[in-house]
């Protein structure tokens, strides 16, 4: 049998169910490997001892009817975990111990999974490179100079380096799909309302969604099945009949109509990305799908719209960090002074920048010109998608305009950093599901991804399309374990 850490999530589950591998063996394998991988800086908090204890408990009284029986998993440090430090990679939450569990992580534990630890991310999920974390940047296992993408960068890096069999992230403007694309892994952002937002540190509430990050499409289907649930504790949770995504997974996509939006052919797009996209179309045709040219005319306005809507919501959500209810405080001469000093010392530069943008666009005299305007354009963007979905079943695009960039390369130029999310942001604004799958390598040998966008609550369809393409693409990346300490 192959090494435990080389098994996909689904393979690990069946090996545990067939009693070929115990939960202790699986957990120990991941704990050992994680301990040797500190150079990547993926973990904010390790819960290895507790994980091993829980694995032994599972083995002494196993329940093989669970979907993730005794399976260890590390999660993004944006999900509140009861009695375990949750920081959102921010200094201001550095001492925060939640008294409750997020619904999504609770769903994982209810189905037998075991927490390995909390993974680094951009501070409050604001970033595309994991360089804004208070705990330092994460390195990609792909190459020592590369960012893993962000904001779910610790998740992507840990997954690609095989420190966890699968993981979960959150995606507000591309924070699951972009790092998945950068690290040669699969990342799915579900439809808004599919996974509960309860207990996830809020960034932009009308855009935030949790989703699976996995080594292959089948694993994403399985993990989504566990994560997604109707939840009364999230007022925007949607009550719909959730399919058995992994059971219903099928490679039959014959006759499916796939749209290719001309506006995603942006200026300066590299030949490599062009070719990747062409290859994707070819694979889909080989599977019996029909390719249709479409137009999403308001695409270029999606990013500026996002950079009004998301900071506006963030400035409101982050008002709660005031040095009173959470651990960190800087003393001041009076109450207001204490607030100002606490927030100045507790937030990093990118978070401050976004709070300032958000406060400005919501401030008196500018609300109509910016915030209201952005909400109107958001409707136009959503209408673009509604219109094309009358003609097509899904849309194929590149996941990102380039492969992973170097650490420090974009950190001094916010707009160039923001442009990285050009293909992922429209999907959040419209609340749609999108999946990024590894589709090839660029000249430097770095992974590139393709994105499939679906209709609302049509995750099964994009999973099926991704599943068929995955076979044809047959993505291989030769991971050199340069970061490991013996």
């Amino acid at each position: 049998m192959s090494n435990i850490i080389d098994l996909s999530l689904s393979e690990l589950v069946s090996n545990i169910k067939n009693k070929k591998i115990s939960s202790n063996e699986a957990t120990s394998a991941y704990v050992e490997r994680s301990k040797k991988s500190k150079n990547l800086n993926t973990y904010n908090e390790e819960t290895f001892e507790t994980a091993l204890k829980k694995a032994n408990e599972f083995d002494s009284k196993p329940d093989f009817n669970k979907k993730l029986p005794g399976v260890p998993i590390a999660v993004k440090d944006l999900f509140c975990t009861k009695n375990i430090k949750t920081t959102a990679s921010s200094k201001i939450l550095n001492n925060f111990i939640p008294t409750y569990e997020s619904t999504v992580t609770q769903n994982l534990w209810n189905d037998g999974s075991i927490l390995l630890g909390k993974l680094n991310c951009d501070e409050f999920a604001m970033g595309s490179s994991n360089e804004t974390s208070y705990f330092g940047n994460v390195t990609s296992p792909i190459d020592k100079d590369l960012v893993p993408g962000g904001s779910s960068g610790g998740s992507a890096s840990a997954l690609a380096a095989k420190l966890t069999p699968a993981t979960i992230g959150t995606d507000t403007g591309g924070s699951i799909r972009q790092p998945a694309s950068f690290t040669g892994t699969v990342g799915l952002k579900p439809t808004y309302g599919s996974c509960s937002r309860y207990g996830i540190v809020a960034f932009a509430s009308s855009l935030d969604q949790a989703g699976p990050m996995t080594r292959n499409v089948k694993d994403s289907a399985l993990l989504l099945e566990v994560m997604s649930s109707f939840d009364n504790k999230d007022s925007t949770s949607v009550d719909f009949k959730r399919p058995m995504y992994s059971k219903d997974l099928s490679k039959d996509i014959k006759g499916k109509k796939i749209g290719i939006p001309k506006e995603y052919r942006v200026d300066g797009m590299s030949e490599e990305i062009e070719k990747l996209w062409e290859d994707g179309k070819k694979y889909l045709k080989d599977c019996g799908a029909e390719i249709i040219d479409i137009s999403l005319p308001h695409t270029k306005f999606a990013l500026p719209t996002y950079y009004i809507v998301a900071p506006a919501e963030a400035s409101s959500n982050l008002a709660r960090y005031d040095g009173v209810k959470y651990g960190f405080r800087t003393e001041g001469d009076n109450l207001i002074d204490m607030y100002e000093k606490t927030r100045s010392a507790g937030f990093g530069d990118e978070v401050k920048r976004r709070i300032m943008i958000g406060t400005y666009v919501l401030s008196s005299g500018y609300y109509d010109a910016y915030y209201l305007k952005a909400q109107k354009v958001r409707r136009l963007i959503k209408n673009d998608f509604s219109n094309v979905f009358q003609k097509v079943d899904a849309i194929l695009t590149p996941s990102t305009p380039s492969s992973a960039f170097k650490i420090g390369e974009k950190s001094n130029d916010p707009v160039s950093m923001y442009l990285n999310d050009i293909f992922t942001v429209p999907v959040n604004l419209a609340g749609l599901p999108g999946i990024s799958i590894p589709a090839g390598l660029d000249k430097k040998g770095y992974p590139l991804g393709l994105q499939i966008i679906g209709k609302s609550f049509d995750e099964q369809n994009i999973l099926n399309i991704a599943y068929s393409m995955e076979d044809k693409i047959n993505f291989k990346f030769n991971l050199k374990e340069w970061w490991m300490n013996e």
Binding site: S206, T236, V324, K352, Y360
Partner: protein
């Protein structure tokens, strides 16, 4: 439209984030480049478009107002920076 240093300082007050002179100047540059890029939204005519504030455009659900968690006051107060078993403590606001 450009954002001057005075405006940056005003926004920082509204945001309850203190800024030193150097940070304020850096933010002036950043915010101007960001808003210059955002201004492209003005190319679009949007007079008759209904603003979209949420993708889930249904009525919010109603539920009974019941306490479901048990008394966890102490655990919650443990997260507060000032040690006090009964209250959140803030600097004196009334003389």
């Amino acid at each position: 439209m450009s954002i001057d240093l005075k405006t940056v300082k005003h926004i920082s007050k509204l945001s309850r984030i203190s800024l030193d002179e150097e940070k304020a100047k850096k933010l002036e540059t950043d915010l101007n480049s960001i808003f210059k890029w955002i201004e492209q939204l003005n190319e679009l005519k949007t007079e008759n478009i209904e603003p979209l504030s949420s993708i889930v455009e249904t009525k919010l659900r109603l539920r009974k107002d019941e306490i479901k968690s048990k008394n966890i006051r102490e655990e919650i107060l443990k997260n507060s920076p000032d040690e006090n078993k009964d209250f959140f403590v803030v600097p004196k606001v009334v003389e």
